[in-house]
Homo-oligomer: 434 residues x 2
């Protein structure tokens, strides 16, 4: 332990000699945070760098965007999570690059030397070269994205209430979600429930239940990562919720008026992008090979080729299983990689035999559509749909939320919403709110 | 009831004849919302206009600014509050002025005709002609103010952690609150508790407990609206919490480096303005007489002189008691005025005898300093300090919060914080967070 009693003016680990190895972890998402926690008490100085001061539980971010939860319920201060780990230091800062020769991470106003570097910087949305679409169709990766989308959704209803022109009113009540993956399905389902239930009685001129929610997926089915049978069930569940599911045709235009899908123009004031992600620019920092989505190709021990001291995990990495099949961009993969890396580094620090190659233990995947509707796949033979899958989805997400307080308040809010059909965080804040 | 079943395309009240009187209420704060609720079912079309979509429980806003509560916990969607009042319509919009001759309220893109107009637009902070101070010392009136102040406070600690220059670090750990009224006292106390308790173990380089919190009050004592004995008790409680209370000298300079109080320069990265408020520009809209703080002078029935159809309540109004003493700018005053106005308007609509002049029933005032410390004055003889006053303060605030859900989650969060000394919403969001 290098800092029993924190003291103003003392610099971490300055006093002790010989110098302990320095591990720098960039990014406090699922992977980076798991690595830092698992390195608590290791014989190394760990620095966890993130441009934000909180860890975000991204799987529930869509509930912030659709006014179900508050940002603080799905975010935990990083410092609080590792407060007990005396050898772990947290730094809020933006990484601009890495000097692999001098082994330093470049922050805005300082450099951070490392002996081992873990890149866990996650992914951002990608518009496949159509970056001009972003202003019309914001994506959902950060808390500020979520409150912006919430602002747009709620403002659309407000403006519709005061709009006299029927065409303009119709456009305001059209919501288009682009991308039929888990985020797109969750967003479309949640907007439908907001309109049909939580807002149903709130307006006098418009009927929010007449809102049209369109989910556009270029591929042949939604939730394509799941077996066909589960996808089909999810599609029917969406339709039942009142979501119009459009498959097989991509969005070809996205502008201030709406979108064009195939030959159809759908006028819409609110468009949400859930179609693609790309890794953050970590691959460029270390000038190493990446796939088209920007993910760093890593060796079986998650190290970057030619740099046994640099690792990439989570959405930043293209890691493959024994058959050469890439692991999916899921929270459990990132977490297990972070924990694996901590074991590997501890072994290296102790000059012991490192563990074998990283292997992901898949304990199942789930996706939710809406109230009482979810799908879950645990194996080829054990699959679930409907209420039980939904209850399980809820339990698992509560369990993996970080912090007892968050777990408790999210559970309380969900139960409240379930009973009352109301949603709790219907605030229009930020831009234009004053 | 003019709109039994809301229907897209139908305009409120269009069908029925003869036309019912139109009451427009501008502002959904304590006064405006109380008036609208009390007019539910009255034989009039009520329109409640606010530029926001939520009612804000301002007395707890300082807890959002100091990371104790989330915005959604102290804000309730206005539509949800009056959803059951079929004759009350909610409009989100910004009022630009009033044409008293034509009896219309001017919104950005439309006009709103009225037969009766209630101005309940509240107050904003005033820098007494030093508007250039606002950028350095933000005030606390809106949710976006609160999240901005939270961002500044938390960011100051983060920057101090990475700052090597001891002078700069000291400046980052200095917090100055200007104004010793309830908001200033609450803010100073809450920052002290955040630094000394919630953040105490989170940093490695700095010790947040060494943060210096200075409360500057130009007058001779804090909480000057309370009896001298209670003020003195509050001052001692602040000192015990670690707040440096500076009385009797105003701030003469406020800039990017800090403040100057008398001859003393206090370098500070975070400055909070809690010194003055001014009424919103409602007095200008109706070109009627106002006091120096911009409050509309109103008659004993809260109507504007010369305009028996226009009323002003809450912080917008300068209303006086039987002795000509102005009522204070408190939530209960605004609420009672809103309810009084509803009685008066109902009587006028029914051509019955209107109630006598408005009289405020004072059931006591309270102010909190911090954990276990508050003061309360119920009468000249019945006054409380300490833990009991604090518990009572909490109970009263929970009781007056709107919405069962908010009451429940705020209570749960407070109990959690009380037991763990932690605070729940330590997020840095918005500007510079990406």
């Amino acid at each position: 332990m290098f800092d029993q009693a924190p003291q103003a003016g003392a610099t971490a680990g300055q006093a002790t000699a010989p110098r302990r190895p320095r591990i720098v972890i960039v990014g406090a998402g699922f992977g980076g945070l798991a690595a830092a926690k698992a390195l608590s008490g290791a014989d190394a100085e760990v620095t966890l760098v993130d441009r934000r001061n909180y860890h975000l539980f991204q799987p529930l971010l869509y509930q912030v965007a659709t006014a179900g939860l508050s940002p603080a319920q799905i975010a935990t201060p990083i410092r609080a999570v590792v407060a007990d780990a005396a050898n772990v230091r947290v730094l809020m800062g933006r990484v601009g690059g890495v000097d692999t020769a001098r082994r330093v991470v470049r922050l805005e106003e300082r450099e951070l030397p490392y002996d081992y570097l873990v890149l866990a910087t996650g992914a951002r949305h990608s518009y496949f070269g159509r970056d001009e679409w972003e202003q019309f169709a914001p994506g959902l990766k950060k808390i500020d994205d979520a409150t912006e989308i919430r602002r747009r959704i709620l403002t659309a209803f407000e403006h519709a209430e005061t709009e006299d022109d029927p065409d303009k009113r119709r456009r305001l009540l059209n919501f288009v979600v682009i991308g039929g993956g888990p985020t797109g399905v969750e967003m479309a389902g949640a907007i439908a429930e907001l309109a049909r239930r939580a807002l149903a009685r709130d307006f006098r001129t418009i009927d929010p239940r007449q809102a049209r929610i369109v989910l556009v997926e270029a591929g042949p089915r939604v939730l394509a990562a799941f077996p066909e049978k589960l996808s089909a069930w999810a599609g029917r569940a969406l339709t039942k919720l009142g979501v119009e599911v459009r498959l097989g045709k991509p969005v070809t235009t996205c502008d201030a008026e709406g979108v064009v899908v195939g030959d159809d123009r759908i006028p819409a004031a609110t468009i949400i992008w859930a179609a693609g992600v790309a890794a953050s620019p970590a691959a460029k920092w270390v000038s190493s090979e990446a796939d088209r989505a920007g993910r760093l190709k890593v060796l079986p021990d998650l190290s970057v080729p030619g740099h046994p001291e640099i690792f990439a995990i989570g959405d930043t990495a293209l890691a493959c299983d024994g058959d050469g099949k890439p692991y999916p961009g899921l929270a459990p993969v990132a977490k297990q990689q972070g924990e694996y890396l901590a074991r590997l580094l501890r072994a290296r620090l102790a000059s012991k035999k490192p563990p074998g190659p990283f292997r992901y233990r898949d304990s199942g995947t789930m996706a939710t559509i809406g109230r009482g509707a979810a799908i879950a796949k645990f194996s080829d033979r054990f699959q679930l749909t409907g209420f039980i899958a939904w209850a399980l989805w809820g339990l698992v997400h509560i369990f993996f939320l970080i912090g007892f307080r968050n777990r408790f308040t999210v559970l309380a809010d969900w139960m409240w919403s379930y009973v009352t059909f109301q949603s709790g965080a219907r605030l229009i804040t930020g831009k234009n709110s004053e």
